[in-house]
């Protein structure tokens, strides 16, 4: 079994090797299989024999050989017609590959994995596998599904890409921006999955938030002039910096106002803030940049009371001007409650009760409960905390809401 540094090296090399393979041989599915086999071979032989002088060329050679084997196999008749090029000896193919534009190949790989023909669940799985270099088992464990289920999801995804006829191409600037939007959304989903599902200390689970940050950072290095990418990376760093303070000793949720801010990761905050300023200086204010700016205001504040709530209310307003999103409106109402008092916050929540997209959500009850508690109406607050607990499907969140209601109920009795 390869040690951690070898694993990480292999994962860093995965998109480079796969990108170059697809550029040359076109078929995503067979290239991906071949690269996976090469990675397994490397994990088996490198720890004993040492890392080769040129690890990337080594992987390319082995992957190309595997692809050639596949093509020669009787069952791959259809592929053979497409892949005549594979009959060139692998050594010569390597020579051809060197010097090609790696940056574009890797970028195209991101675009392909996040192809709009795929479902979000497939985009996520494929990105983690092809760009992130995770194994099927690791991805399956991260999402708590059986390995066979994840293997099926991946192979269907590859089939969909084949059917859609997706290939590496030279997109126009507008096409690239549209595709980039899909990629950023997928990376954001991966990050959120890790952020919200981080219950339990399961050591065999890959940390999805850390993985999302790694893959987004690679993207940022490929596209250093794209403010949206910087904004997303900044948002992830500024959010993940609070991770250690976010849960208590037995995995219970600790809300922002009760977190020990000395546990926040200062280096991560500095890194996120730097990226945010770079994104802002280019003048762009995309949704990710604005969300990062809100996260930065929390991270900078020494306490909830000293947080710049009026500024946060403003920034939520900016987000609402791009899209009318009830979740954003809810967050803004909470911020209004902090800036102008709980009654103003409750008034801001009012219109949401008639919004079908959120009226039945536990979040609306939780926000109302919190504001009612601060306004001194404990009876009503208890009822809404309990309703929220009844409706949430997240266990730590339910526990938090139940305990909050019980604590208030004790106050009322006294």
């Amino acid at each position: 079994m390869a040690d951690e540094s070898t694993q990480l090296l292999l994962r860093d090399l995965t998109p480079l090797v796969l990108g170059a393979m697809i550029r040359r041989y076109r078929d995503f599915a067979s290239c991906e299989d071949a690269v996976q086999e090469a990675l397994v071979a490397a994990a088996g032989s490198w720890p004993a024999r040492g890392i080769p002088h040129n690890p990337r060329a080594w992987l390319m050679t082995v992957a190309t050989r595997r692809l050639t084997d596949q093509v020669r196999a009787e069952t791959a008749r259809r592929l053979r017609e497409q892949l005549v090029v594979s009959l060139i000896p692998p050594e010569e193919q390597i020579a051809l590959a060197v010097g090609h534009n790696d940056r574009d190949d890797t970028l195209d790989l991101y675009f392909m994995c996040c192809h709009p023909a795929l479902t979000p669940a497939s985009q996520i799985a494929l990105t983690l596998r092809a760009v992130g270099g995770l194994t099927t088992l690791e991805i399956a464990r991260a999402f708590l599904v059986p390995e066979a289920t994840m293997a099926q999801r991946l192979s269907r995804a590859k089939q969909t890409i084949r059917d859609a006829g997706a290939s590496f191409s030279d997109p126009t600037r507008d096409e690239q921006l549209a595709r980039l939007g899909h990629v950023l959304r997928v990376l954001y989903l991966i990050f959120n999955e890790g952020y919200t599902a981080s219950e339990g200390a399961d050591l065999v689970r890959v940390d999805l938030s850390t993985e999302a940050i790694r893959v987004t950072r690679m993207l940022e290095q490929l596209l250093p002039d794209e403010p949206e990418v910087k904004g997303l990376l900044a948002l992830m760093l500024l959010t993940d910096a609070r991770r250690a303070a976010r849960t208590g000793p037995s995995g219970e949720l600790v809300p922002l106002d009760e977190q020990d801010r000395t546990c926040w990761d200062r280096a991560m905050i500095d890194d996120g803030t730097r990226l945010l300023h770079e994104a802002l200086s280019s003048g762009a204010g995309s949704a990710y940049v604005v969300q990062a700016a809100i996260a930065a205001l929390h991270d900078e504040a020494p306490s909830t009371e000293k947080t710049d709530w009026p500024q946060i209310v403003e920034l939520y307003g900016v987000l609402l001007r791009t899209a009318d999103n009830p979740m954003v409106r809810l967050s803004q109402a909470i911020a209004i409650g902090m800036a102008e008092g709980p009654h103003a916050g409750l008034a801001a929540l009012e219109p949401l009760a008639g919004d079908r997209r959120i009226a039945e959500s536990h979040r609306l009850d939780a926000a109302r409960a919190h504001l009612l508690e601060r306004a001194g109406d404990h009876e009503a607050a208890i009822a809404h905390y309990r309703r929220a607990a009844q409706r949430t499907t997240n266990t730590p969140e339910r526990d938090y809401l139940l305990l909050h209601a019980a604590r208030l109920a004790e106050l009322v009795c006294q």
């Binding site: 607990a389 009844q390 305990l403």
Partner: protein, 133 residues
Amino acid sequence: MKYMLMMNTPKGPYQIASWPKQDIEAHIGFMMGFAKKLTASGELVAAEGLSAPDQAKVVRAGEKGEPITDGVFPETKEFLAGYWIVDVESPERAYAIAAEASAAPGPGGEPLRLPIEVRQVMAGPAKDWTPCT
């Protein structure tokens, strides 16, 4: 052999919502410790808690196989609140685990003694099994 241990709860909102804070804490602490213990002993296969039954639906296939959903039937007295699947050496061990779950603390720290239904999970045939022999 694998067993599914099903914990049932009376109809209506989960009772835990009306317990005192320290009892809720004790109950949550017990459940977390229970899962950890079963994981450490290598017996836990899966465990899931289900969301509250008031959102539950009963689904049947219609004429053309389309889903026909219905609210929860009023005569249903008990609902599945959650389950554990354990892989154990004997049925007795499954019963012992079920008894431990049943004794989860309730109001005042008293054991709840909720009924836990224990069912063996069907296994596939052994590898050398053939229907002709």
